[in-house]
């Protein structure tokens, strides 16, 4: 029997399935092993040039059962799409098919080295080439660079191709990039990496780019515009063709941020909108898992003008089959702007995306974007009388509300989101886009059933009524209550950063008891 025990709560601090889990560094005991390895063969004289490590590395030793339990418990402190509804706007949290995982693990695709002789990896090159073919067909674009590792990397790819084109055509003075205020932060950050300066374009009251303001900013020093379409407010830029026309007339290119391509796959080809280059987030549109923050992939389609500047490497059809072009000299007169990363792109993500695309087919992909838009409009319709929609009219794949419905309640967008967590939902995106006050951006995706949406609507309506009752502000402020941890002190984390474990240094007052 413990000598003392808490009157309320548990002795262990655990709460049934919510089990406290120490850091691995607090679990180890020297000499344990989680893998069995043979004894190394004796080496008469090592070849380490006198650089052998001195002393301990400092890693903990654990056995396999400890490791399995550790990560299982950690996983139980996470919310995933598999857990429940995850309407995180602009992130496209839809079902991740398990067939895609299975295909990515076939030894004939997973256990390949990027520098095997090319004749021994023809099937892998076929995966890349097939996926590239689909992406070109779905966008109507003539070329695609497959190597970008994620959306932001794809933005950089498109902008580098634009910069290379301008340099090659005596237009190197074009250094200004027009970016809407509602853009993802990656857009201006990527532009800066290419030596461009960023000039913001304001939005109209209807949530779209102010075309007149854009036109007024076009000039012979503008390299390109970066427009997200559908945009970050979940709206289709209805004047997109005029935007493209004016941009081209000014000698600039149209970079389209393809983060929201999932709303229009199979219904619109971006080539028909006048787009010169666009990245595609395979981890959004084509359902490869987000994995707690990656890996993703950001293949970037290119127009005829920009295609010659596509980065190395790329796959071409040759006499003996498919061939990987790894050097400028082999590029057949093309002028690649360089190399963006190691090896040949996010191959494991390609396999998953291709498996998804083949499963869905042209009919399924079109149905998916249609259902995504249908679901978002259904949420918009069912919530419009209790929340405050930011813009009129139908939305695309996500619907945007602002915090006017919370005015004078003492409840903020953040509080509202935290209350949703206690209700068993992942919150929507908050405070983005920046163009509306206290944004709540909901993206239901096509893989959610009507039953799920109806249940969610009832909860959100209930929370909205509760907030507006005027009596529940404290209740909202103290949410979430039922999570493994409650609201965390981000000010403390940033003022005195503790970014790693150190012996004896990581216990908080409470945990040390």
């Amino acid at each position: 029997m413990p000598e003392s025990f808490p009157i309320s709560g548990t002795i262990s601090g655990n709460r049934a399935l919510q089990i406290e889990e120490p850091l691995i560094f607090e679990l180890g005991s020297d000499g344990r092993l989680g893998v069995d390895l043979p004894d190394p063969a004796p080496v008469d004289e090592d070849r380490l040039a006198g650089c052998r490590r001195q002393g301990r590395i400092g890693l903990p030793d654990l056995s396999e059962p400890q490791v399995v339990r550790h990560y299982t418990r950690l996983s139980q402190k996470n919310y995933g799409i598999d857990t429940g509804f995850y309407p995180l706007g602009s992130c496209t949290m839809k079902h991740n098919p398990r067939l895609s995982e299975k295909m990515a693990r076939l030894p004939g695709l997973a256990d390949l080295h990027p520098f095997q002789p090319q004749k021994t990896v023809q099937g892998a090159l076929e995966v890349i080439d097939s996926l590239a073919g689909w992406l070109k067909d779905l966008t109507g674009m003539p070329a695609v660079a497959m190597s970008p590792a994620a959306g932001a990397h794809g933005e950089w790819c498109g902008l580098m191709a634009i910069r290379a084109y301008h340099e090659d055509h005596g237009q190197g003075h074009r250094r200004r990039v027009l970016v809407p205020e509602s853009a993802h932060g990656t857009n201006p950050a990527s532009a800066a990496m290419c030596g461009f300066t960023v000039d913001p374009i304001p939005a109209r009251d209807n949530g779209r780019v102010d075309v007149d303001a854009l036109k007024a900013k076009l000039g012979d020093d503008v390299a390109c515009i970066m427009v997200t379409n559908p945009n970050t407010c979940g709206l289709f830029e209805d004047e997109i063709i005029e935007i493209a026309r004016a941009t081209h007339a000014a000698g600039a290119f149209f970079y389209c941020d393809g983060a929201n391509f999932n709303a229009i796959v199979g219904r619109v080809r971006v080539a028909d909108l006048g787009v010169d280059t666009m990245h595609i987030n395979l981890h959004k549109t084509f359902s490869t898992p987000h994995g707690g923050g990656g890996p993703g992939a950001g293949p970037t389609v290119l127009s005829d003008k920009l295609a010659p500047y596509a980065p190395l490497p790329f796959v071409v059809h040759g006499e003996g089959g498919l061939r990987l072009v790894e050097h400028v000299a082999e590029a057949g007169g093309a002028k690649p702007f360089g190399r963006m990363k190691g090896y040949h792109g996010q191959f494991g993500v390609f396999v998953r995306a291709l498996a998804y695309i083949m499963s869905m087919g042209s009919d399924g992909l079109r149905q998916a974007s249609t259902d995504a838009v249908l679901n978002a409009n259904y949420l918009l319709a069912r919530l419009s009388d209790v929340l405050t929609p930011s813009f009129d009219g139908p939305c695309m794949h996500e619907c945007l509300f602002d915090d006017r419905f919370l005015k004078d309640t003492g409840v903020t967008t953040l509080d509202f989101a935290k209350a949703m967590i206690d209700e068993g939902y992942h919150p929507m995106t908050m405070y983005f886009p920046l163009v509306v006050h206290g944004a709540l951006l909901m993206e239901p995706t096509e893989t959610e059933s009507k039953e799920t949406l109806d249940a969610f609507v009832e909860v959100v309506r209930g929370l909205a009524f509760k907030a507006r009752s005027g009596a529940a502000a404290d209740d909202f402020k103290s949410a979430p209550r039922y999570t493994p941890r409650r609201r965390l002190d981000e000010t403390l984390a940033a003022r005195t950063p503790v970014l790693r474990w150190k012996p004896g240094a990581n216990a908080t007052a409470q945990a040390a008891e």
């Binding site: 043979p38 996470n78 995850y86 970014l499």
Partner: protein
């Protein structure tokens, strides 16, 4: 279609609730000229069986590493991954979660990132590591940019020991900026003089240790020379298993360590996705790219974790961010940290010793080949083998493949313009190579010469 739950009745009901006649009305903002009225003329949906068959057919056209005596490295290494790693990795709460922006429902991700950061810092001998970059090459480019930011200088010296993809990725990243690269020739013999090149304009020197051609160096004199001139030393590590045996860059005076984490947990995967490692000193942490998990407490005083120091990042700082990176390699970081946790101090040390012993054994066996010699005296698990005058290593590798042996990479695949590299073959040996694999390789090379 199995991933779409709606029935036609659901759709009709929902359209009624929205108050429109059909779905086309929801797309009314799309200009008529861009609207597709029917599905594109492309293959239609397929069941699991059909898709599996198509992938099996593509997989069959490849020679997978496990089916051959396999000695390829050059930045991507084949190590055995314990079964538990992949079994745990596919847990949906890890696989299907987003970046942990909502810490109350992401403590699992945040804690493993915190553990990952700690392991990387410990392994490299540095103070602090981030939550990952895309891969070693992009981490290297980010380090060059960061060094320029820290030193307010513009010259980046790239060693000939550095992986050619790291070199070209870094060159590409800098080419349209005011930062400049000073690129040394490939250095198969480990003879280059870096110290003589460092001057008061130098932002950093970037070297790889063990080098791309295998050699190991004590970088302490180079670090001292850099610091004397106010420059930073950036060290790349291509196979973190080497850190089980070789002194870490941090102990040699490195200011930034970058690396490729693929060796642990991630697997070959035809080279992608990889896992960029990035570590530095405490004093530079606010200049670092990438996400950082940090420890804090919740309102009940319990230890917990959050993403922190976010003002460095693109979603807040926009064009002034330290990098544009958003999605990184989260799940690969999880695979890495699980593999390394299973290994621990004892396992990693033993694994590194086995790798080194196998490489030494392979070199001994290769001595049988007339005219062949390993170019550098020092190495960990990889070296450059000179096959003899007049020998084209690319032809040898091609013939080896015909015999079902994946016998290294010809150096000329990376440097087609360097005549002297034509006879050079880069070979790696890991714990996955048996004695008979080595004998098969040596015999096959003899037959191919």
């Amino acid at each position: 279609m199995r991933y779409l739950p709606h029935t036609d009745a659901d759709r009709r009901h929902m359209l009624r609730a929205i108050g429109v006649a059909d779905v086309d009305a929801l797309f009314r903002d799309v200009p008529d000229s861009a609207r597709l009225d029917k599905p594109l003329d492309l293959p239609r949906h397929q069941g699991e069986m059909e898709v599996e068959r198509a992938f099996a057919r593509m997989a069959m056209k490849n020679l997978s590493a496990g089916c051959a005596p396999f000695f390829i490295g050059a930045g991507v290494y084949r190590h055995h991954i314990p079964a538990a790693v992949d079994q745990l990795l596919t847990r949906g709460e890890f696989l299907t979660s987003y970046t942990p922006y909502q810490p109350e429902v992401s403590q699992g991700t945040l804690q493993y990132l915190f553990e990952f950061q700690t392991q990387v810092a410990i392994l490299t001998g540095m103070d602090v590591a981030n939550a990952s970059m895309y891969d070693g090459a992009t981490a290297c480019a980010e380090a060059a940019v960061m060094a320029c930011r820290v030193t307010k200088r513009r010259k980046v010296i790239l060693s000939g020991s550095l992986h050619p993809h790291y070199r070209s990725t870094t060159e590409t990243a800098l080419q349209y900026t005011d930062m400049k690269t000073d690129l040394l020739a490939p250095d198969p013999m480990g003879m280059e003089d870096l110290i003589g090149r460092v001057d008061s304009q130098t932002a950093c020197v970037i070297v790889q240790n063990p080098g791309f051609f295998g050699g190991i160096k004590d970088l302490t004199p180079l670090a001292d020379a850099c610091h004397a001139d106010g420059a930073l030393l950036v060290v790349a590590v291509a196979d973190p298993v080497s850190l089980g045996l070789v002194a870490p860059p941090g102990a040699m005076g490195a200011d930034i360590v970058v690396g490729e984490g693929q060796s642990l947990g991630v697997g070959l995967g035809f080279g992608g996705p990889g896992l960029g490692l990035f570590a530095t000193r405490d004093r530079y942490v606010r200049q670092m790219p990438g996400r950082l998990a940090g420890q804090t407490a919740d309102i009940d005083g319990k230890r917990g974790y959050v993403l922190t120091l976010s003002t460095r990042e693109q979603h807040i700082r926009r064009e002034k961010a330290t990098s544009n990176i958003c999605t990184n390699s989260g799940l690969c970081a999880l695979a890495f940290t699980m593999h390394l946790t299973l290994l621990g101090e004892t396992g990693l040390t033993r694994l590194a010793e086995i790798n080194h012993a196998n490489a030494v054994r392979l070199e001994q066996k290769l001595r049988r080949i007339k005219g062949a010699r390993v170019l550098q005296r020092s190495y960990f698990n990889e070296f450059a083998l000179y096959l003899g005058d007049e020998v084209d290593a690319a032809v040898v590798v091609d013939r080896l493949a015909d015999k079902g042996v994946l016998g290294g990479v010809p150096a000329a695949r990376f440097y087609p313009d360097y005549e002297e590299l034509v006879p050079v073959l880069i070979l790696a040996a890991t714990e996955t190579n048996s004695e008979s694999d080595m004998d098969a390789l040596v015999a096959a090379i003899e037959e191919c010469l």
